[in-house]
Amino acid sequence: MKFIRPQKGGHGVAAFVFQMNRQEMDWLLSTLKMYPLLDSSYHRITHGGAEEIQAEQELLEEAMAQQRREYRRKLDKFLASPGRFRLEAPDQYRLNLTAEQLEWLLQVLNDIRVGCWVKLGRPELEPVRRRELGGQDARHMAALEVSGYFQMVLLEAGKGAGAD
């Protein structure tokens, strides 16, 4: 997938134009369908888990759950939109994103990336536990890399458009 150019969309909304082949489109779609992967209990309001802010911990978990419901709704609408991926040439698809879509897609992809990492046992952070690989492990390993790849393309597009 490559970033082609930023352009002004309707009502002055910045749009980002991407081009990708069929394989990349399939990867992106199958990865996005995994959302959400992170559980709300992943989020901690303090490092030590101080008891006196238990109410705030619950508030944080509720806020994260609500955000995931909202992004799932946006994602469903996004994916269901006809012509979202427009065939331009053989094995060449075009995807247009607004700045707002680019921003929440980044968050969605990051949720998938971090979620895969958690499901794989948080490698490089927690002691490696010897175990048989199996089940969903290969899928999570692949999705961790694929989501990171698409995140990098979106971030580069943001830079290219002078987002910073």
């Binding site: 901690r44 490092h47 705030e56 944080l60 949720d111 971030l155 943001g158 910073d164």
Partner: protein
């Protein structure tokens, strides 16, 4: 004759009730971002820029501090504002917490 003093019982307080709201809540909280091996460096920089409105150089400086030292104090705020920032950063999937200073 000795006088026995009746001990004065401390006023009953509900532990859950926040009895020292102003004193504690205005004392100051720091918002800390902790290192993890999964969030991309460019992504963390981007999140700092979006959430705090920082220029890229400042966002990168904090990102590198997280990466190299394990954490970075991003801002010092009153309780509610610190909580707001933690919600935003966590919404982006970063490992951010608020700690009493």
């Amino acid at each position: 004759m000795s006088v026995t003093e009746t001990p004065i019982a401390p006023p009953k307080t509900d532990k859950k009730e926040k009895t020292e709201p102003r004193e504690l809540r205005d004392r100051g909280y720091v918002v800390i971002c902790w290192n993890d091996p999964v969030n991309l460096m460019d992504y963390v920089t981007h999140v700092f820029q979006v959430v705090f409105g920082w220029p890229k150089a400042r966002a990168e400086r904090h990102m590198l501090q997280v990466h190299q030292t394990g954490k970075s104090v991003l801002t010092r705020e009153a309780f509610e504002k610190a909580e707001h920032y933690v919600h935003q950063l966590q919404g982006y999937g970063l490992h951010a917490t608020m700690e009493r200073e």
